[in-house]
């Protein structure tokens, strides 16, 4: 195995096993709400959970083949959705949406 392969394994693994979860960790916990160890651990956990879920969904529903380009695009899409969510939250879009949804779906017997 040459140096280029090692570099590819390291950066490719970080891209798949860390980056999407890192973006999603900000969806669940705003900046400053959790410490660095919590954020890093969650990033790995979320990436390992989300990537196979989404990849399999794409393959099953849209018959997307697992080529290098498609896989990279899917990982970018997972990350992109989190970033869009964060952008929308910053613009308060998600707050309005959540309010609308919760007013329609009332479970009066249960607490939040």
């Amino acid at each position: 195995m040459d140096a280029l392969d090692v570099v590819r394994i390291i950066f490719g693994s970080i891209f798949v096993l860390f980056v999407p979860g890192f973006a999603w960790s900000y969806v669940f916990f705003n900046r400053g709400k959790i410490d660095l160890v919590e954020r890093v651990a969650l990033s790995f956990g979320l990436s390992i959970a989300l990537v196979p879920l989404v990849v399999f969904w794409f393959n099953w529903v849209f018959h997307v083949k697992m080529s290098l380009l498609n896989t990279i695009l899917i990982v970018l899409a997972i990350t992109g959705v989190a970033l869009f969510w964060l952008y929308a939250r910053k613009r308060q879009w998600t707050v309005h949406l959540a309010e609308k949804l919760s007013s329609r779906m009332k479970f009066s017997k249960f607490r939040k």
């Binding site: 394994i9 490719g12 669940f28 890093v40 249960f110």
Partner: protein
């Protein structure tokens, strides 16, 4: 009367710490094989825990101070957990446990099927043994990073095993404060049970534990989106722990009635939909199998479907050092009426293991995780928060406890060996050079290795899709001494058959007499013997 009770309470309170020290010293001496008293240590553990009740009744949650000071301990625990998992691989190039061959074969099968996910063409034993999650993750890393199955098995598995230090720390810190979190992380790092899980190569289990802990973390933090993702991931990585978490959610929901839990479960079900639909038959047969095993075990006490791992009695011996503290932690939860998910997790998991319902030996692995967390709670509220105890004594108790817990693990690290020798492994690899369409016949002990590393279709009793024989036919084949019976048995295969025998079984029940003739040639003879047979037309 009241005075008498107060006196008794005072005596109990005064006796508690000396009892703890005596117990830990005895556990340490027992672990070192220096002194082994003929007393039941489990009863002693219960007595210690009962004596802690006056102490834990007055204790309060302690956040545990500066996080920066905690970091070195946390990373030391991670490093220790990683090193003990790497040492066996430095000593032996052959992977540990019985399962590596199954994993390697399935990883390679997924990699060779790219760019498709080979869902439709998978053999039924793969669908029953392995949910899709780990292999789809492998495919993604393989395509993107170029990592192969051995990278996954040799590097990712020890890393995930060590990485579990962090989720266990986060869950415990979230519920019981930082000091308890650190204690849980350290106890996890030295746990014999968790090391043994690694030594058996229970790859999926490690992921399952990670998702289980993160799901509990999401549930207790009321981050239901996070919980839903982790719950769904449990379903596609490790179904026993998925079932455990689902069972935990029932009493937890009834107790807390939060609607977020319903949304999270619906979300998880939606995410799991394609995985379940594509393997509906296997999922249904697994569920009915679990239910019928549980019913049979309750009715007859037969202890069927236990899974390969040590039993509950062995568990109480290897986790002896921290068991009384886990009981103290449990008493703390009950006395404080703290009905959190860990309480239900402990009760449900203990019921499965003690009443031997289903897969009960393998459920010792998640049980150990919750026992570790409760032990950390017990140490925090039963020792560290005890007033008028010098810090040096507290530190000594904690250090002795960790050492007593670590000794069985360190001994095991030294003694852990692969199930086959290097020479036998070389013989398996030698088979890669033979005809591409050949079959290899192996006994069930060696079959996973031959499947993973020979690159051929493997004929083994009761295993894999290439076994066309009944149990009786196999017994007749083993018992036969004449070449004709052996040839009749092998003639159902239209390609050359290599017979691999590594002398691992206690008795050589294969019988070599039937191969000592012109139809079978010895093509390899070292630490394993390999015969070649080709059907004559």
């Amino acid at each position: 009367m009241r005075e008498k009770i107060q006196k008794i309470s005072k005596i109990i309170n005064l006796s508690y710490l000396p009892l703890v020290i005596i117990f830990i010293l005895l556990a340490l001496l027992e672990a070192l094989n220096v002194i082994s008293l003929s007393i039941d240590y489990r009863i002693f553990a219960i007595v210690v825990a009962l004596f802690a009740i006056p102490t834990i009744m007055v204790s309060q949650r302690h956040e545990g101070g500066d996080f920066k000071k905690a970091m070195p301990i946390l990373f030391a625990a991670f490093l220790f957990a990683f090193i003990v998992r790497v040492i066996p691989y430095v000593q032996h190039p052959v992977p540990l446990g019985y399962d590596p061959g199954f994993y390697k074969y399935t990883f390679d099968l997924y990699a060779n099927s790219l760019p498709q996910i080979p869902e439709a063409g998978l053999a039924s034993w793969i669908k029953e043994m392995y949910p899709q999650g780990l292999f789809v993750l492998f495919d993604t890393v393989h395509v993107t990073a170029g990592a192969d199955s051995l990278h996954f098995m040799y590097y990712l598995f020890p890393l995930i095993g060590a990485f579990l230090v962090f989720p266990i720390f986060l869950v415990t810190r979230n519920l019981f404060g930082q000091r308890a979190g650190l204690m849980a992380a350290v106890l996890y790092a030295v746990s014999f049970t968790q090391f043994d899980m690694f030594a058996w190569f229970y790859f999926k289990n490690a992921f399952g534990l990670m998702f289980l802990l993160f799901a509990i973390y999401g549930l207790e933090k009321r981050k239901y989106g996070l919980m839903a993702v982790m719950f769904a991931a449990l379903g596609i990585f490790h179904q026993p722990e998925f079932l455990l978490f689902a069972l935990v959610l029932i009493p937890y929901f009834l107790m807390h009635r939060r609607r977020g839990i319903i949304y999270a479960c619906l979300g998880a079900a939606l995410m799991l939909l394609p995985f379940l639909i594509s393997r509906w038959d296997e999922t249904w047969s697994t569920l009915t199998g679990v239910a019928s095993t549980a019913v049979t075990n309750i009715e007859t006490g037969a202890g069927m479907g236990s899974g390969t791992f040590f039993g509950f009695t062995t568990y109480t011996a290897v986790a002896l050092a921290y068991i009384p503290f886990a009981l103290i932690g449990l008493f703390y939860l009950i006395l404080k009426r703290n009905w959190n998910s860990l309480f239900f997790y402990f009760v449900i998991n203990l019921v499965i293991v003690v009443f031997e319902l289903f897969f009960f030996k393998r459920f010792i692995i998640p049980l150990d995780i919750v026992v570790i967390i409760l032990a950390a709670v017990g140490i925090e509220y039963g020792i560290m928060q005890r007033v008028r105890v010098p810090k040096a004594v507290t530190a000594l108790v904690v250090i002795l406890l960790v050492v007593a817990g670590a000794i069985p693990t360190i001994n095991s690290v030294k003694d852990t060996k692969p199930l086959i020798t290097e020479g036998q492994f070389k013989a398996v690899e030698w088979l890669q050079a033979v005809e591409g369409d050949a079959y290899v016949l192996a006994l069930s002990h060696d079959a996973p290795w031959v499947l993973g590393w020979s690159g051929h279709r493997v004929i083994a009793p009761g295993l894999f899709q290439w076994d066309y024989h009944t149990k009786d036919e196999w017994f007749a084949f083993f018992a036969a001494n004449d070449s004709q019976s052996a040839r009749d048995f092998l003639d159902v295969y239209d390609s050359p058959v290599y017979i691999y025998y590594a002398n691992n079984a206690d008795n050589c029940y294969l019988g070599f007499e039937k191969f000592a003739n012109e139809y079978f040639q010895v093509v390899y003879n070292d630490e394993a013997i390999i015969y070649r047979y080709e059907r004559g037309d």
